[in-house]
């Protein structure tokens, strides 16, 4: 709903003669008593301001279409074009702004983090379709984003080939600190809490951090500025898993004074079903709550926010293997070793994660062009991982980590007519506690980490069609850990040469060590955005980022039960440094638009896990993977097109390709997403209850660029030891999936809009495996699923 602009014209004609130099003058009035000096007036190319009583005058204005723009903090801007033929006297009456109080920087159309990179946004309507799924699933709507999965519920986004610590998730302005180091740790976030998701592919979002080598996922919750009360309830049912979710939220907005939001989501799913068999022990549960209260005044606002996320995820029973022989059997049998009847029961192995965020924000507006924001956030992440254990330990978690993070951010933003400046400071303190009551040596040790950052970003519009931006950031980081190393492992890793200074105690077969590392990092970003004639836009950005090794990369030491692999970290790792050049070309025709984004990313000291051999333990031989560093080069291209065929039909297409190379060894990088293509055709007819029908085709090709990490093991066949190849490297074949979506809106109850959506995922129940799913050695991906969604807006 838009408010009308009230303008009162008082025209006095000065004869019929046409002067090429005209004057526009008049008086600005307002119902409230305000100070009139400082009201910004732009007429044509000229800028002026009014005097203390509201009078203004601008001379030397040429004839022709003349833009008039008047703005003042707290009031609706006046934005109009007049055809100037002679001098005019125009009076304006300012009306109180109740919707745009927070659109402080008026010239900017959207609050982009950077102007030289085309950001991708996912709107609420699309997010709601994924109400019953995960954040990683929603993000696949953006070209260039794939997902790294462990089963179907643990989904991490991969941006242009990079994932994990390289892709921080910013939820409601808080960097999510939720133990993202493992491939089987998904972001702890309720999809229903997002009303807008912005993806920045690359490190240019410097205000959030300097280590986003892959990119940033910025999630914003719903925040209402009008004086209204409304709510939404979404009910989902999914036939694959025979379960669903309910999510309800209420929002009370206000222009000034108090406003609040509250959201709850509950999810309950049983075992998922692949095309031909049940995926035993893949159910999941989720319970989330978030709420905030805000007080808005003319010059400032303050918000307090709290959210709680709890998720219990069953891990496919068949993926819980023992040693190399078990892995070989799984890979060769093509069928999961455990297939039970469908159940809602979740038994071990499973994950039980809880994440809480408490946040306080205070924003102060100096005037319409400058504000400062102060934020304190506390996050508490509790992760329990349960394994199949024996005896008294049956119900004790195998991993019990408590991660507490305090963060403080101060950001300052000021904009002028043609420029924008942001700067800020951030500080964070983090503590990780690994509970020894598990009876298993913890995968991640106890540690304390401190981070400080300072940044400055500026952008300048040289003209309406050319703008430049640049940013610089400094980060300090210090990590202090306490870890026991078995002496045999300490020697095998060769740590004594460089790190014997960390040893502080001798416990017989183990050393007590206190490794400590300090990092100083600089990140930078620079680029430009040029609008060419005929609706061409070109964005170019060069960014430089550094990422410190995370605790898993430094300190991993032992068998990772969920993958059946011994993972070894390295205290000797250096930070990763990435230089990325990204160019985006956009073109809009009348009915058709496209966007092409080629990029190249050089990452020095890229850290990754590499198979290096085996170790024999009493449980048999286990593959050993080690964290190593190399110089990597990622080259890729993302393409998106959109075609409005006619009033009813639309088509969109997206393609993403990335080629990753280990330059030191001249071989391909492991786990690079293969080429994927998506085609979507949509039919919509407002007259038929806002009917929408969509058919989507998803094609994922076979990845032919992969390193050969296969190895041989001995199994007993016909009374002889036979050497067999364990093929963990060959990616699975290409696949093609078809999905259908439909929705209609009804007005069933008073004041309630009801939307009914029916969709089918994987219409033909295709059986397939995905290269980026860790469980591809054990089972297929999920088969067909029918989903019904009821959405009530009231």
């Amino acid at each position: 709903m838009s408010k009308k602009i009230h303008v009162f014209f008082w025209l006095i004609l000065f004869g019929n003669s046409i002067y090429s130099q005209n004057t526009i003058s008049g008086k600005i009035t307002c119902q409230e008593p305000i100070s009139f000096s400082g009201i910004h007036i732009h007429i044509g190319q000229k800028i002026s301001s009014s005097d203390a009583t509201g009078n203004y005058s601008i001379n030397n204005l040429p004839n022709g279409a003349t833009k008039i723009f008047i703005s003042h903090l707290g009031y609706q801007s006046i934005d109009t074009v007049i055809d100037l033929k002679s001098s005019l006297k125009i009076d304006f009456k300012l009306k109180l702004n109740t919707t745009k109080l927070h659109e402080v920087v008026i010239q900017q159309k959207n609050n982009n983090s950077t102007k030289s990179v085309a950001e991708q946004q996912i709107k609420l309507a699309t997010i709601e379709k994924y109400s019953n799924q995960t954040l990683g699933d929603v993000l696949k709507e953006v070209a260039g984003i794939s997902s790294l999965k462990t089963g179907n519920t643990v989904v991490k986004p991969i941006i242009n080939g990079l994932y994990g610590s390289r892709v921080p998730v910013i939820n409601n302005n808080v960097k999510l600190e939720d133990q993202q180091w493992g491939t089987e740790h998904a972001p702890n976030f309720d999809v229903n809490a997002a009303s807008k998701i912005t993806v920045i592919k690359g490190a240019s979002g410097l205000q959030y951090g300097g280590d986003a080598i892959g990119g940033l996922v910025i999630i914003e919750p719903l925040s209402v500025k009008k004086d209204t009360l409304f709510g939404k309830t979404i009910l989902n049912y999914d036939s694959n898993g025979k379960g669903g979710s309910v999510s309800s939220s209420i929002h009370k907005g206000n222009d000034l004074g108090w406003s609040w939001n509250a959201l709850t989501t509950l999810k309950y799913m049983g075992d998922k079903q692949a095309a031909d068999y049940a995926l035993s022990n893949t159910g999941n549960r989720e319970a989330n709550f978030s709420g905030d209260i805000k007080y808005t005044a003319k010059k400032y606002n303050a918000t307090a926010f709290y959210s709680y996320y709890k998720s219990i995820i069953g891990i496919l029973s068949a993926s819980h293997t023992g040693n190399v022989n078990d892995l070989y059997q799984s890979i060769n049998n093509k069928l999961p070793s455990v297939i039970n009847n469908f159940t809602y029961n979740i038994k071990n192995p499973k994950q039980d994660v809880e994440h809480q965020i408490a946040k306080f924000n205070f924003n102060y507006y100096f005037n319409e062009s400058a504000f400062v924001s102060f934020q304190y956030a506390f996050q508490f992440n509790k992760r329990l991982e349960y394994d199949v254990r024996r005896g008294d330990y049956k119900n004790t978690a195998a991993l019990d980590l408590d991660l507490k993070t305090h963060s403080l951010n101060i950001d300052f933003k000021k904009s002028g007519h043609d420029w924008n400046f942001k700067s800020g400071l951030s500080a964070a303190m983090q503590n990780n506690y690994a509970n020894p009551a598990t009876g298993i040596r913890p995968l991640i040790p106890n540690y304390d980490k401190i981070d400080f950052g300072a940044y400055g970003i500026a952008s300048y519009n040289f003209s309406d069609s050319f703008s430049v931006d640049g940013g610089l950031r400094y980060d300090f980081s210090k990590i202090d850990a306490t870890k026991y190393y078995q002496k045999s492992r300490w020697d095998e890793r060769g740590f004594n040469e460089k790190f014997s200074k960390f040893i502080v105690g001798d416990f017989g077969t183990q050393w007590l060590t206190k490794p400590s590392f300090t990092f100083h990092n600089i990140s930078a970003s620079a680029g430009f955005h040029k609008k060419l004639e005929n609706s061409w836009d070109i964005f170019t950005n060069l960014s430089f980022a550094s990422r410190n090794p995370n605790p898993s990369e430094f300190f991993s030491d032992g068998l990772h039960h969920s993958t059946g692999v011994i993972e070894l970290g390295d205290l000797d790792l250096d930070k990763e440094q990435s230089t990325k050049l990204s160019v985006t070309l956009q073109k809009k025709f009348n009915q058709f638009s496209f966007e092409i984004n080629p990029y190249i990313n050089h990452i020095q000291d890229y850290i990754f896990l590499k198979p290096v051999g085996f170790e024999t333990t009493i449980r048999g031989a286990f593959p050993v993977w080690e964290y190593q560093q190399t110089n990597a080069r990622l080259l890729g291209i993302d393409v998106q097109t959109h075609w409005n065929i006619n009033n009813y039909w639309q088509h969109s297409f997206s393609l993403a390709y990335v080629n990753g190379k280990d330059r030191s060894k001249n071989e391909p990088l492991i786990d690079m997403p293969p080429l994927n293509l998506n085609n979507k055709i949509r039919f919509s007819k407002k007259e038929w209850n806002q009917l929408i029908l969509e058919l989507k085709s998803e094609i994922v090709l076979q990845q032919n660029q992969y390193p050969d990490n296969n190895f041989y093991t001995n199994i007993i066949k016909d009374n002889e030891f036979e050497s067999v190849l364990v093929d963990i490297s060959t990616p699975p074949p290409a696949y093609h999936l078809l999905h259908f979506y439909s929705e209609m809106k009804f007005n069933t109850f008073k004041n309630t809009n009801t939307t009914v959506a029916f969709s089918i995922q994987n219409i033909f129940n295709v059986s397939y495996r995905d290269y980026l799913n860790r469980q591809r050695f054990f089972a297929d991906e999920i088969g067909r699923s029918f989903q019904i969604q009821l959405k009530f807006n009231y």
Partner: protein
């Protein structure tokens, strides 16, 4: 206006600095660090003792890996060769010798009999190992646990014996109860191999 802005800015940056200093001053000084985790479920030692029926020297096979998943290789010992034309009754025990005192895990395996099964695989010219028939060798569903085995030797032979302890196997799978590991599934808690000979 500008001066007010500047002083407000200054105030905020000063606040940030104070906050930052506060954070850095609270550090966790571990003067008494927690002791290392006591891994009680670990199996460090598998011992199989084969006693010949009618007297003679018992043969002890032992597999010891005292650093768990650590880098040191295991220590495998075979006390002596088996004798020809004899029937040996074997009993396997599992211990955690890193615990102090050393813990015998075998009773736990018996208690959770339904969830455990041992398999004996041979290569070369060795005769097969079969399950002992005593009722204590079977779980409450009548399916074998397999801690007891029988090895009947005939002529000279040699090869490898691999003893595998499976956790939550599918005991109803084809031939699994006969001692065939092929369809057993479950996860491997121990898998040890010995080079033995019959002389």
């Amino acid at each position: 206006m500008k001066t007010i802005q500047k002083s407000k800015q200054f105030k905020f940056y000063a606040l940030a600095l104070v906050a930052a200093l506060t954070f850095s001053s609270c550090s966790n000084d571990d003067d008494n660090p927690a002791p290392p985790v006591n891994e009680e479920e670990l199996i460090t030692t598998v011992t199989a003792i084969y006693t010949p029926v009618g007297g003679g020297t018992a043969v002890t096979l032992q597999y010891k890996d005292l650093d768990g998943e650590g880098a040191n290789p295991p220590v495998i010992t075979v006390s002596s060769p088996f004798e020809k034309n004899k029937t040996y009754n074997g009993a396997v025990t599992f211990k955690n010798e890193l615990a102090n005192p050393a813990e015998d895990i075998t009773p736990e395996i018996l208690e959770e009999g339904v969830d455990h099964q041992l398999f004996y695989q041979t290569t070369g010219t060795l005769n097969p190992f079969t399950y002992g028939t005593a009722s204590s060798n079977f779980d409450k569903n009548g399916k074998p646990i397999g801690l007891q085995s029988v090895f009947a030797t005939t002529g000279a032979a040699s090869g490898k014996l691999t003893i595998t302890l499976r956790h939550t196997p599918n005991k109803s799978g084809a031939n699994v109860s006969a001692g065939d590991i092929t369809n057993a599934a479950g996860s491997t808690d121990a898998e040890v191999s010995f080079s033995i000979s019959v002389q």
